[in-house]
């Protein structure tokens, strides 16, 4: 019998030169992507880590069995119910964001499987698509079983089907990243930035936090998913290398655009989870420390490797490491009913930890938490007082990323208004405005939540917005996890009445 190394190269280099049909008709530029090159330019496409179908099936079977074994051992409802409240809500965030987004990765990989420009690429993309099936089904199974206990876990399936403001932003990001994308941009954006730059390493950080939170089911799930990501993420680099060779400006633009867009989403998903929805004693590092060690350096090394430049907005990212997810969490806390998970009010211990990790602007953030805490102290704990510690006016959103206008600092918000074709647009940051102006035909017709309200598409009053547009219910909309009943808060005196 031949060894795998002796025959596999024959099994994944399979293209012949087409003579009865035109290459451009089989692989149209609109779907395959640009720069449009003849197959002769793509035929040396190679992935570093090769796998045969048989190996794939055997390995994936073993991995799945390991996940289900952990589920049977420590993933029962009674195990999950013992997890700390902050972590439980981090699970609800990920439960909603992950599974259906992974399914769009099936679609994106299938585009690569059909329209990738070399047979080896297309083969790896088939395995990638199958990976993403797995990444859809495992979290749906593990999280959705919790619905019978906590209705907020229904959002594991429901989230992307709603017009919740975060779902609008997530769909805007995912639709462009995976679904509405040509094969070249899909593989560069998803493999080189989203997976190599963010999710692969996020799973490392999340797995570590899950371990600290004694959530061994989630820990096993993400480490198992991560091994698949590491394999199919390797599709991107040889695609990027080819684009870099023939159109380096375009390669640079794709990396710059997608790093920014990923930064926006992951600073919310991971930043909030690490620095707010993990109990202080279980935090092994801050989000900023994690980003600096695992994401930023890795990304810069990738750029160097390909001869790409650091993104022009790099200093903004470094500044935002200190502020953005803090601004987002404070905003979201005071609009928690608009989301499907519960929030924890940072107390003295949490704020001390945050000050230590984020000294540069923490005074500004601490003042906000002081005011929120004082409001709870004034009205008293209890679910009946939730809306007294809640915003009542519509927040505002970026016309590119669809996320709240939380750029900059509390002292100086970075939001920018742009007059474009006789219409005002507002952006949370310079990079969002830059992306919009690079592809206005793609973005100009989108409507963020404020414009939907002003046009009458979305309701303007909060109850209808929550229930009819966001599809939340009194049972599922977000609340303070303890209804304001914190020991440390009980010690605060209510301010004297005026």
């Amino acid at each position: 019998m031949l060894n795998r190394e002796e025959w596999l190269h024959l099994a994944h280099k399979l293209d012949w030169q087409y003579s009865y049909v035109r290459e451009e008709d089989i692989f149209p530029e609109l779907i395959s992507g640009r720069p449009y090159l003849p197959h002769s330019e793509w035929q040396d496409w190679e992935e570093s880590f090769k796998t045969s179908y048989r190996e794939y099936v055997e390995n994936q079977f073993d991995k799945d069995m390991a996940v289900y074994a952990v589920r049977d051992a420590v993933g029962r409802l009674e195990n999950i119910q013992k997890l700390a409240t902050p972590w439980m809500n981090s699970l609800k965030v990920h439960a909603a964001a992950l599974p259906l987004a992974e399914f769009t990765g099936v679609i994106g990989n299938l585009r690569g499987a059909r329209f990738g420009r070399d047979s080896a690429w297309r083969t790896m993309a088939v395995f990638g698509a199958m990976d993403e099936f797995r990444h859809t089904q495992i979290p749906l199974l593990l999280f959705h079983q919790l619905v019978r206990w906590d209705a907020q876990f229904d959002w594991a399936h429901k989230f992307y089907h709603t017009n919740n403001w975060f779902a609008i932003a997530a769909r805007h990001f995912i639709d462009e990243l995976t679904v509405g994308q040509n094969a070249i941009e899909f593989h560069i954006a998803t493999n080189c930035v989203f997976e190599t730059g963010f999710t692969n390493l996020q799973f490392v950080g999340l797995a570590s936090l899950a371990h600290g939170a004694k959530d061994h089911l989630f820990e096993k799930m993400v480490t198992s998913i991560q091994t698949d990501e590491a394999r199919h993420a390797q599709i991107g680099p040889p695609v990027l290398a080819k684009v870099m060779k023939h159109d380096p400006d375009y390669a640079q633009y794709l990396m710059d655009k997608w790093f920014w867009r990923n930064w926006r989403m992951f600073s919310i998903l991971t930043g909030v989870s690490m620095d707010y929805l993990t109990a202080t004693e279980q935090r092994t590092y801050s989000f900023k420390e994690f980003m600096e060690e695992w994401i930023l350096d890795q990304f810069l090394r990738t750029l160097d490797e390909f001869g790409l430049k650091r993104p022009w907005y790099w200093e903004t990212v470094l500044e935002e490491l200190e502020t953005y997810h803090h601004m987002i969490y404070a905003s979201a806390y005071t609009y928690r009913a608009t989301l499907w998970f519960n929030f924890v009010l940072p107390g003295p211990d949490e704020r001390k930890w945050l000050r230590q990790k984020y000294p540069k602007h923490w005074d500004e953030m601490d003042a906000v938490w002081e005011t929120v805490s004082a409001r709870w102290a004034a009205v008293g704990p209890g679910s009946e007082n939730e809306l007294s510690v809640h915003g009542k006016v519509l927040p505002t959103f970026c016309d590119l990323c669809q996320l709240p206008l939380c750029g900059g600092t509390p002292q100086k918000n970075a939001a920018i208004v742009l007059l474009f074709e006789n219409q005002n647009y507002i952006f949370c940051s310079e990079p969002c405005r830059w992306i919009f102006l690079r592809e206005p035909e793609r973005y100009a017709g989108h409507r963020e939540l404020v414009k939907r309200v002003l046009s009458g598409e979305a309701p303007s009053n909060l109850p209808d917005l929550l229930t009819k547009y966001f599809q939340l219910t009194p049972e599922t909309w977000g609340k303070d996890a303890y209804s304001g009943a914190y020991d440390w808060l009980a010690a605060k005196e209510a301010p004297a009445a005026h």
Binding site: A330, G391, P404, L405, N413, N424
Partner: protein, 78 residues
């Protein structure tokens, strides 16, 4: 006539939508933004309203001040 405006209060963490009226004064606009943000930022008497880089006189109506739809205004401490 209503003018939807993006309001940014110094010390706050996000922008807010203020549906203002042309006949409202600049001062009233600043009070509305402060009230809207009050769960996060305490009220300050001594503030200025900044619009397109200019400090607006508090007694002007929004129409007199030239505020236009979907523009940004800031309320900052004096």
């Amino acid at each position: 006539m209503s003018i939807p405006l993006y309001g940014f209060l110094q010390g706050d963490v996000l922008g807010l939508l203020i549906l203002a009226e042309e006949h409202e004064t600049v001062h009233a606009l600043s009070e509305r933004l402060q009230e809207a943000a009050s769960v996060r930022v305490g009220h300050t008497q001594d503030v200025r309203v900044i619009y397109k880089g200019n400090v607006l006189a508090p007694g002007l109506t929004l129409r007199e001040a030239g505020l236009a739809s979907l523009e940004r205004f800031d309320v900052v401490r004096s």
